[in-house]
C-alpha cells in the first residue's frame, strides 16, 4: 500500500473527500510508513493515539459533509520546534526533552482547524541551529536517498519524511535556510514565506527577526495548499503582517511568459559545485523555454550575508535561550548546590555543543565593548543587504539561484569545522535578513544520485509568483516525482 503514500496531499484529499479511502486508513498508512522508515530517525515523537482519535473525528465530519478545507483528512507531521498542545515539543534538545506545551502554535492550530491529522513531531537540529540535522539530542537523521548522507538541516526530519514518502506534507521552520536547504538535499519542495506572513506564535524562537514557519511537500500545489491554511494575520504575534493572505493554490496558472528572472553573478563563482551549477542553469533554461526572460546581474553584499546572519541570529538566540534554566520547564539536574550551580548545570548539561557555541557567540556580539563592532555593524549590513535586494526587485520578478553550494554531505563530516558548515549557507541567509519569501524545488541529481535543489527568491508577499513558477516548472519536469529507492519498496 505504499502507493497511497506516493499520492500528493491534494490527491489524497480528493480520495478522502470522495470516500474512496477513509481518514483512519490513511492515517494508519502514514503511521506505518513512519515506523518502517525508523532507520532514518525522522521522528522524535509519534502521536498515534491522538492521530487516530483526530482521524475518527474528521471522518465523521466528512461523512456529515461538514469539512471545508481542501486538505481535510490529510495526515501530516510538524517540526518539533512548533508547539503542539499536550504533545511533547522538544526542539531536538535534552533541555526540552519532556516539555508538553499547554497551547498550540497558531500554525498548528490552523492545521487542526483545517481538519488535517497530526501524526508525529519531526526531528531537527537542536533548537534549529544546524545545517545537517546531526546535532539533535535524539540522534541524527539520515537522507532517504543515501543513508550515509545528511538530509540537510535544521528541518531535516520534516524534509526527509516527505522524500521518504512517510508523510504527505510537513511543516518546517527557516531562519537561515532551514527549510530550503533540506528540501534541496532531499529532493522535495518547500517555501520560507515573507517574514511575518505566517504567525510565529508557538514557534520556539531561535532568531526572532529571521524565523518563519513554512510547508514542505512533494509538489508546488501541495505547498500552496498548506500555505493557504497557515498564512495570515495573527494578533498574538506583533510582527505578523496585517495583509490579506491565501489564494495561493487558486492562483497557480503555470504560465511564466514574460517572467523576469535575475541570475546573480556572485552566486555562480568558485565554491559552487559544478553539478549543482549545471542543474540550476538547466532549470533556468527550462524556464526560459517556457517564456521567462533570464538576465544575469550583479547582486552586491553577497559575501557579507553570512557574517551578518551569524551575528544577528546568534545574538537573538543567546537571549531567546536564556529562559532555559531548569526552573519553569524542561531538564533540571538532580542536584545543585545553589542558584548559580543550578543555572550552570542545567544549561551545560541540557544544551549540545553547537547551541552552546552560538549562545556564546551571541553573548559576545552583544557584550559591552563589542556591541558596536559586531551587533550594530551587523544591523547596518542587514540594511544594505535589504537595499541590494530591493534594487534587484525593481528589475526582476524573481531571483534564481542554487540553494546550497553542494548536494548533501556525508554524515559526520561537517560538525568539526563549524565555520565551513556556516559557509554552506551562502545562498539562503541573505533572504532571511531581508525578510523575503523564497522557495526551494528539485531541479536535478548528482551522478551519485543525490538531489539538487534550486531556489527562487521573491519580493515581499510574492509567494504566489514563486509557487506559480515552481508549479510551471513541475509541469514540464519530473525531478519532483522521483522517489528514493527505499521509499518505493
Amino acid at each position: 500500500m505504499n502507493r497511497l503514500m506516493d499520492l500528493s496531499s491534494l490527491q489524497l484529499a480528493q480520495k478522502l473527500h470522495n470516500k474512496e479511502i477513509g481518514v483512519v486508513e490513511a492515517t494508519k498508512e502514514m503511521l506505518n510508513a513512519i515506523e518502517h522508515s525508523k532507520a532514518l530517525n525522522i521522528a522524535i515523537t509519534v502521536c498515534e493515539k491522538e492521530a487516530l482519535a483526530q482521524a475518527e473525528k474528521v471522518q465523521k465530519r466528512i461523512d456529515k459533509g461538514e469539512i471545508a478545507s481542501p486538505l481535510a483528512g490529510v495526515p501530516m507531521a510538524i517540526k518539533d520546534n512548533i508547539c503542539t498542545k499536550g504533545i511533547n515539543t522538544t526542539c531536538g534538545s535534552k533541555m526540552l526533552y519532556n516539555f508538553k506545551p499547554p497551547y498550540n502554535a497558531t500554525a498548528a492550530n490552523k492545521l487542526e482547524q483545517a481538519d488535517t491529522i497530526l501524526c508525529a513531531k519531526m526531528n531537527m537540529d537542536e533548537f534549529a541551529m544546524g545545517s545537517t540535522t546531526e546535532t539533535s539530542y535524539f540522534g541524527q537523521v539520515k537522507n532517504p536517498w543515501n543513508i550515509e548522507y545528511v538530509p540537510g538541516g535544521s528541518s531535516g526530519g520534516s524534509a526527509a519524511a516527505v522524500a521518504a514518502r512517510s508523510a504527505f506534507f510537513t511543516l518546517g521552520s527557516d531562519t537561515g535556510g532551514s527549510i530550503r536547504q533540506p528540501c534541496s538535499f532531499c529532493g522535495v519542495t518547500g517555501i520560507k514565506p515573507t517574514y511575518g506572513r505566517v504567525s510565529r506564535y508557538g514557534l520556539i524562537a531561535y532568531g526572532s527577526s529571521l524565523d518563519q514557519i513554512g510547508p514542505i511537500a512533494r509538489t508546488a500545489e501541495d505547498v500552496a495548499a498548506v500555505l493557504d491554511i497557515i498564512a495570515g494575520y495573527d494578533k498574538a504575534d506583533s510582527t505578523s503582517l496585517n495583509q490579506s493572505a491565501g489564494g495561493y493554490l487558486a492562483a497557480l496558472k503555470g504560465d511564466v511568459k514574460g517572467l523576469k528572472i535575475g541570475i546573480p553573478k556572485e552566486y555562480f563563482t568558485t565554491g559552487l559545485d559544478e553539478e549543482v551549477k549545471q542543474s540550476v542553469l538547466s532549470a533556468a533554461k527550462e524556464l526560459e523555454s517556457m517564456g521567462a526572460i533570464l538576465e544575469e546581474f550583479s547582486l552586491p553584499m553577497t559575501e557579507y550575508a553570512i557574517p551578518a546572519y551569524y551575528i544577528i541570529a546568534s545574538a537573538e538566540a543567546s537571549s531567546n535561550l536564556s529562559r532555559y534554566d531548569g526552573i519553569k520547564y524542561g531538564y533540571r539536574p538532580e542536584k545543585s548546590e545553589d542558584l548559580l550551580d543550578l543555572y550552570l548545570k542545567a544549561r551545560s548539561e541540557g544544551f549540545g555543543r553547537e547551541v552552546k557555541r552560538r549562545i556564546m557567540l551571541g553573548a559576545f556580539a552583544l557584550s559591552s565593548g563589542y556591541y558596536d563592532a559586531y551587533y550594530k555593524k551587523a544591523l547596518q549590513t542587514k540594511a544594505l543587504i535589504k537595499k541590494a535586494f530591493d534594487d534587484a526587485f525593481n528589475k526582476y520578478d524573481i531571483i534564481l539561484s542554487p540553494t546550497a553550494p553542494t548536494a548533501a554531505l556525508k554524515l559526520g563530516e561537517s560538525l568539526d569545522d563549524p565555520l565551513k558548515m556556516y559557509l554552506g549557507d551562502i545562498y539562503t541567509v541573505s533572504v532571511n535578513l531581508a525578510g523575503l519569501p523564497a522557495l526551494a524545488a528539485p531541479c536535478g541529481f548528482t551522478k551519485s544520485g543525490l538531489p539538487i535543489g534550486m531556489q527562487f527568491i521573491g519580493k515581499p508577499l510574492s509567494e504566489n509568483v514563486l509557487l506559480n513558477t515552481a508549479f510551471a516548472y513541475q509541469q514540464k519536469t519530473n525531478f519532483h516525482t522521483m522517489a528514493p529507492k527505499e521509499a518505493v519498496k
Binding site: 494578533k235 551578518a308 551569524y310 526552573i327 533540571r332
Partner: protein
Amino acid sequence: MQITDEIITYVAALARIDLQESEREQAKNDLGNIISYINMLNELDTTNVEPMSHTFDINNVFREDRVLPSSEREQLLENAPSKQEGCYKVPKTVE
C-alpha cells in the same frame, strides 16, 4: 581574532554555561575562527547607514487594555520540574 581565556570565561559566565576543560580549548578555537571570519565586516563601509532592526515598516501594534482569563495554575506548573505550594521552586536565593 584571538579569543583569550579571559574572553571565553567572561562570555561563558554571561551565558551561564560551564565549560569543561576539554570543551574550553575547542570553544576558544571555534569562536576564534568564526569571529576572525566575521571581522570581514570591517571592510564594509557603513557610515551613515541606519542599523535596521525591523525589516518592514510596521509600527504601533497594540492591544486593548482588556483583562482575559489567566491560565489554570495546574496547567502552568505542569511542566515545572520542582514546585511547592503553587510556586516554582529554586535553591535558596539570597539577595
